[in-house]
Subunit: 332 residues, 2 copies
DNA sequence: CTGAAAGCGCTTACAG
DNA sequence: CTGAAAGCGCTTACAG
C-alpha cells in the first residue's frame, strides 16, 4: 500500500533500521545529517507510516475507539469534542464506531470492529449495552469506560452527571418557582444504566423534603425520545394535574412542547417545562427551554483523560440550571 | 494483546497454518473434524482475530473510513446509516473520523488518522477540504468520494443531490404559490464545492423563466448555520421586499424562523419559508418547515456501493418537495 | 551513529 | 488435508 521504509532505505542507501529510527524520532540514535537526508526522501516519495505495522510490533496502540448510538442523542458531539481535545493533547488518535439505534446486532458489530484491531481503550457514549455485548466487551482485555450514563455495577467505570442531583435540583427549582404538582417524563426506568432511577430518586427526595407526596401518575417513563415527549404530554393532559414537568432529555422537552401547542396549552403560562441536557435544541425552539444543563464537553475530556492515564475511579461532572423561557413563577 | 493463533495451535496440536485456514474459513483446506476442534479451542480461549495483522499480509483492508464535520450537520446520521447498510451487506467495516468545525488542522488530523492505516477507501460527508488537505488526500493511493456536496473538478467524485435542480424546484414551487420576490439565504458561495453556486444558478433560472428579474439584495449568503439564518432575516427585514425565502439548510431555516418571531413576523402569514434538507428539525419546530427534502440515506448507500465496487462516476439522488406549514399561497 | 537479525500476528504458495 | 517457511511494514535489543 504505497511507499514503505524499505523504499526510503533503497533511495537513501541507509538501512531500514536507520530509516525507522529517524522517522519515529528516536532521539540520539541518528545524526542530524542523516535525518535531513531521510526526511527529504520521505517527503519526496510521499511516505506515510503504516501504523498498523507499528502497533503490531510495539504491541500497543494510540487509538481510542468511541462507540456512539446513532439515535438522536444530539449531545454526543460535545462529548466527542471533549474527547478529541484531550486526545490531541496526549497525542492519541480517535476513531468512532456507530452502534445503531439500540439493536443488539449493530452494537455487536461496532464492538467487534473496535476489538479486532489494536486499540488502547474504548469510550461508550450513552450506549446501553445488551447483556451479551457487555460480556463480549468484558472478555476482551481492553480498558473501557462509559460516558454520560452511570451504573450500580462496581466493575463498570463511568464519567457522567450525578443523576440523583439532576433530579433533585430540577425538582427543587420548580418548587421554588411555586409548583407543587410536578411531572417527570421520558426517563427510562428499565435500562441497565441507573440514570433514570437515580433521577427519579432525586426527584422524590426533593418532593418529600418539601412536604409533597409524589403521585404515581406524575411519572411518565419513556426512552428519552421526541415521541416519548409527545406521548407523555397526551397522558398528562388527560389527568390535568401537573403544572410543571421535568423532561428526561431536550428532545423529550421539545416533543412535549409541541404536543402542548397542539392541545392549545401555552408554555409557560399553562404549563412549565424544564429539560435535562441543555443542548442547542433548547435554544432553537419557541419558547426556549429552561434546562438542567450538563457539561458534556467536560465529560468527554475527563473520560478520555482517565482512559489515557489508566485511572479507574468514576467521576461526576458539573450541572447547572439555565433559565430560559419555559418555566413561569406560580403565585400561590 | 490477548490470544493469538499460536496459542490455539499449541492448545490443539495443529500448526498455525491450519489454524489460520479454519479461522478464516478457507473452504476445502481442512476437514470438518479439525475445524470443530479448532473452533472450540478458539471459543474457549476467547480468541479475537487481529485484523491489523491480516491486513498487513493480505495487503488489503475491509474498512471504509468516513470523515465528517463536527459542525451541526444534522443529516450526517442518515448518510451514515445508509453507508452502514451497504457496508454490512458487503461485509465491510466502517470507522468514522471527526474533522472538526472546518479547521485545517483538525481536518488534517482526521485525514492522517485514516491514511496511516490500511483502509479500502474514504467517504467525505459534506467536508469542504482545505487545498493542502485535498492535496494530501490525492497524494495517498486511496480511493475517496464526497457525499452531499459536488464539484466542478472532474477528478473529484461525488454522490449528492442535483443542487441546480434543488434551487430550481424550490423557486418554481414558491412562484406557483404566488410569490414573486423570493430570497435565497445561508448558502455558501465561496466554498470549493459548487453546491451553493449551483443552487443559485437554478434559482435564477426559475426566476427568469417566469419573467422575474433576480435582485441582488434577495441573496443573503452564509455558511449554512443557524446564525446565518438569524442574520439573513435581519437583513431581509430592513429591506422589506421578499415574501418568501429559500434557506440553504434546515438550520438556516430555523434561525430565520426564530428571528422572524422576534421581529413579530408571522410565518407563513407574513413570510413563507422553504428549507433545503428536510431532516427531523423541520418537524420539531413550530410552524413545521416545508422543505426540499434530500435523500441522505440513499446518498450514503450509493456512495458506499460505488466505493466498494470501484466505480468512479458521479451520481445524483432524488429530491422532493415536502409540504408542511411554513409556506402560504399568496393570492395575487 | 549504523546495520543485521529477530519478531509482532497473520496468510499462502509450495511440498507432501 | 496439513506443515514448514517466507513475508507483510515496522521496531529494537545487540554488536560494532
Amino acid at each position: 500500500m504505497g511507499i514503505t521504509i524499505k523504499d526510503i532505505a533503497r533511495e537513501t542507501g541507509f538501512s531500514v533500521a536507520t530509516v525507522s529510527r529517524v522517522l519515529s524520532n528516536k532521539e540520539g540514535f541518528f545524526s542530524q545529517k542523516t535525518a535531513t537526508i531521510i526526511n527529504a526522501a520521505a517527503a519526496k516519495l510521499g511516505y506515510k507510516k503504516n501504523m498498523a505495522a507499528t502497533e503490531l510490533v510495539t504491541q500497543k496502540s494510540n487509538v481510542i475507539a468511541i462507540i456512539v448510538n446513532s439515535t438522536k442523542t444530539n449531545f454526543s458531539e460535545a462529548i466527542i469534542d471533549g474527547i478529541q481535545k484531550k486526545a490531541t493533547e496526549a497525542n492519541k488518535r480517535v476513531i468512532i464506531l456507530y452502534a445503531g439505534d439500540h439493536h443488539a446486532q449493530s452494537q455487536q458489530r461496532a464492538l467487534t470492529t473496535a476489538l479486532e484491531r489494536p486499540i488502547m481503550g474504548i469510550l461508550l457514549l450513552s450506549v446501553d449495552l445488551f447483556a451479551e455485548n457487555l460480556k463480549l466487551l468484558k472478555s476482551a482485555r481492553v480498558p473501557f469506560r462509559f460516558i454520560s450514563i452511570s451504573f450500580k455495577d462496581p466493575t463498570l467505570n463511568y464519567v457522567a452527571s450525578d443523576d440523583y442531583q439532576i433530579g433533585y435540583e430540577a425538582t427543587k427549582y420548580l418548587i421554588e418557582m411555586g409548583h407543587r404538582c410536578i411531572g417527570l417524563a421520558g426517563i427510562d426506568l428499565e435500562s441497565g444504566a441507573h440514570t433514570g432511577k437515580q433521577r427519579l430518586a432525586g426527584y422524590q427526595r426533593a418532593l418529600l423534603e418539601n412536604g409533597i407526596i409524589p403521585q404515581k401518575s406524575w411519572i411518565q417513563p419513556g426512552n428519552y425520545s421526541y415521541t416519548a415527549g409527545e406521548q407523555a404530554m397526551l397522558n398528562y393532559h388527560q389527568q390535568k394535574k401537573v403544572t410543571a414537568i421535568i423532561t428526561g432529555s431536550d428532545l423529550v422537552g421539545v416533543g412535549l412542547l409541541n404536543q402542548a401547542a397542539k392541545l392549545n396549552l401555552n408554555v409557560p403560562n399553562d404549563l412549565s417545562i424544564i429539560a435535562i441536557d441543555g443542548t442547542y435544541l433548547c435554544k432553537i425552539v419557541q419558547p426556549q427551554l429552561t434546562s438542567v444543563t450538563q457539561d458534556f464537553y467536560q465529560m468527554g475530556y475527563l473520560g478520555a483523560a482517565y482512559l489515557i492515564n489508566g485511572q479507574y475511579q468514576n467521576a461526576f461532572t458539573d450541572i447547572e440550571i439555565t433559565e430560559r423561557q419555559s418555566v413561569k413563577k406560580r403565585s400561590l
